[in-house]
Symmetry: C2
Subunit: 518 residues, 2 copies
Amino acid sequence: MKRKLLYALLLTAGTMSSVSAQTDEQMLARIREEGMLKSQVMATALQFTDVAGPRLANSPGLKRAQDWAVNELKTWGAVNAKREPWGKFGKGWEIQKNYVAITAPYYHNIIAIPKAWTPGTNGLVKGDVVLLKVDSLPDLAKYQGKLKGKIVMMDVKGTGGQTYRADASRYTDSALTAMGNATLAPAGGGQRRGGPGARGNMAAAAALRQALPKFYLAEGVSLVLSQARGTDGTVFTSNGASYADTAKAVAPEIETSTEDYQRILRLSKAGVKVGLEADIKTEFFTNDLQGYNVVGELPGTDPKLKDQLVIIGGHLDSWHAATGATDNAAGCAVMMEAMRILKRVGFKPRRTIRIVLWSSEEQGIHGSHNYVLNHFGDAKTMVLKPEHAKVSAYYNLDNGTGKIRGIYLQGNAAAGDLFKSWFAPFKDLGATTVTISNTGGTDHLSFDAVGIPGFQFIQDGMDYNTRTHHTNQDTYDKLSEDDLKQASTIVASLVYNTSQRDEMLPRKPLPVAQPPKN
Amino acid sequence: MKRKLLYALLLTAGTMSSVSAQTDEQMLARIREEGMLKSQVMATALQFTDVAGPRLANSPGLKRAQDWAVNELKTWGAVNAKREPWGKFGKGWEIQKNYVAITAPYYHNIIAIPKAWTPGTNGLVKGDVVLLKVDSLPDLAKYQGKLKGKIVMMDVKGTGGQTYRADASRYTDSALTAMGNATLAPAGGGQRRGGPGARGNMAAAAALRQALPKFYLAEGVSLVLSQARGTDGTVFTSNGASYADTAKAVAPEIETSTEDYQRILRLSKAGVKVGLEADIKTEFFTNDLQGYNVVGELPGTDPKLKDQLVIIGGHLDSWHAATGATDNAAGCAVMMEAMRILKRVGFKPRRTIRIVLWSSEEQGIHGSHNYVLNHFGDAKTMVLKPEHAKVSAYYNLDNGTGKIRGIYLQGNAAAGDLFKSWFAPFKDLGATTVTISNTGGTDHLSFDAVGIPGFQFIQDGMDYNTRTHHTNQDTYDKLSEDDLKQASTIVASLVYNTSQRDEMLPRKPLPVAQPPKN
């Protein structure tokens, strides 16, 4: 559609009756108007971030966000809105106190985050930091019986220093062109790095890594300091223990900013005693070990197609040190907004449109994997359920706060021209690129694994990799309103087109069942 | 000197006797060898940062750094090394506990730093945050009697979002060329911004700013939250009260990261109660209100010139949230290293070389101002002391960790060709530019104010303005070793040349006395 026509339609759309039969162009113009000019995406994002708080898998924060989403979907007129259990996940966990400071040679409060699913310190602990010199398993012996109540750290390289590259960036035209021209890389394993010696060293390092938690616990260390990736106060977080209800106990462990970690390390190496105090309280939740996804629907209205599905989603769980704004409140807020837009413009879809906000993505893509297992089929055996045949497409958003620049076909070449035509009206908003390439790491993989067309969008990277992805700085202020409006509008339009098309989206050949491992 | 010759000399210098008469070229080559290949600058910087800690004016951390410097200068063989009092400064202050977290709607430890010279909370305080809507003085009335024990904040704009410019940068060749070609800007006042209305608003805002501390204290608020400049965990700090021993009391006040401040603000504006707890302990030191500079000398050996001085320095005091690595442990470590290099190469200077590490620069350039007042003259009256005539030059370093790219002549055109010739051997190290321009903000101004040639170097900016200057991230790991070696070598060489030259450096006409203010 030409741009002038689009804006002419924008101006007239509001005066038209929503019950009259409308052309695709008219509906798409209304979608664009609602998405770009009357957006609620930031209000939704605020609820998922500031109001709900950190949303680690099975945490109270995730539950708050899920409950809000269910209620909001109902308010908007979605049907079948609920938290749907997908099977056993494990324990919930949250931080209830976090205080760490060095007290000698002078006082300095440090930036540090407890690793997820680690215990607290059981009140204020104080002690000198002990620098462990451990290169391999046998080195542990020299510390046996000497670490009770101690605070320990290892000698690791810092990640600090100057940064001569901007934290944030967007795709250049040439990068997008290259993505559009890409061909599928041949399947097959990458090369191992190094020779047998390197493999031996890696095995020894892995053995040490595996032995350490048990050793720390057995020796009764009071706190383990680890160094976090990140600079300038930004701390990337991870987990320090299993979420399984049967998980073995570990010692308390914190991820420390590189600046603070290296300061303690330099002092220790210079022979200056570093005193440290910490008061960390974490809480485990075991009353409900089930994992849940949020679902809701706009029911289909075409008697022949209403049993078919267009599914959209993103993972609502986050890491624990911030409020997971770009990972992935952004994606969830956009998908919620797409639902709101479609409902608000009075769209009566031919196929049923379903939103699913996944959980436990960060812990292994569990929410979507189990949802697909429960509803559509088992990627291991390729034993499929009847509904498998009824899903036209799954669209996922989980690449931060940047606007949509295109879509990954995930090898589904036959869908390429469709997406090109659906993206055509959004050239002015920067979304043009259809790449045959695969992208990984998130929930569309669960659909792709059983042969249902599953897509993830290309988004401008912004400062996802430098500042927000899994960090203590993934907060609401890192969200870009204009980008999220654009993404909501484009997703709503693609969903509209997918719902209204006479045929379902083309599929790739079904994957083969994976032989059971011995 | 040609580069080939220089390295040839480098190779032979070590074998020559230090007591034999050496040519300038030979001595400069030995200086370069010592500075670039046998540097101790990082070891010195480590003592000033990690080991001494924050070095706020008159704090215990500054005292530790000063004592270490005096002792080290003595160890190196400098004479007259001591802490020299310069007059009354005021109270010392340091942080002894710093814990702040929100506790509702969920727990989250926040990045916040007490403002310098503010009191602590006298134990753990807890309460809901009260968002004050105060645009002008009369608005305060509505809160009278309602803030006892409350934690308060104002509605201010955030500083977050994406950054599309690199944090760190170096001077480009074209920027240096432009500096070299600059002419002196005519003296005279800049234009006021805005009309009478704008001035009225500014006056009202200033009146409110002035009234607030008294109001907070009178109302008995338990904690004031302010927003810090900075992003991603970086917090720029400042002071929140006077250091004077007669200063009026204020309420406890913390500078909060923009991400945390804006989160609390958004929640408050959305009607969500934010609970906060804080435990801040700060200590004032009043046992010695004097300010001190560190001094030390390499005595002159030429009977006619040894009473004349070449002075080098930088300020050793810092802000309190980190260890002032780039501001200005870097400059002090370089100046110490220049002294070490000159002593180590067996240099017997004609003029006396004096190092002075200033204090209270961050609080108003007090250390150097009072030193000049005590030794050389009064800029207000232009009543000068005899020693005023004996200072050839003062060299200052206080622009972070970047290498030296040249020097600011501070309008002293007659010194331009000298510096060009003295920089010539360092073209390969990137130091070439002699600019007629002034630069301000640090201790060379105290000398310039009484007509003694005072110079500050041009240094690559690195991430000084984005990440380190007055922030909680100004730590040792932000120091660039190669840059500091280069700076030490160049300073030592310039000091060598200034000491050996038959004449003192040319001076500008004496400034006129400043008429007393009514």
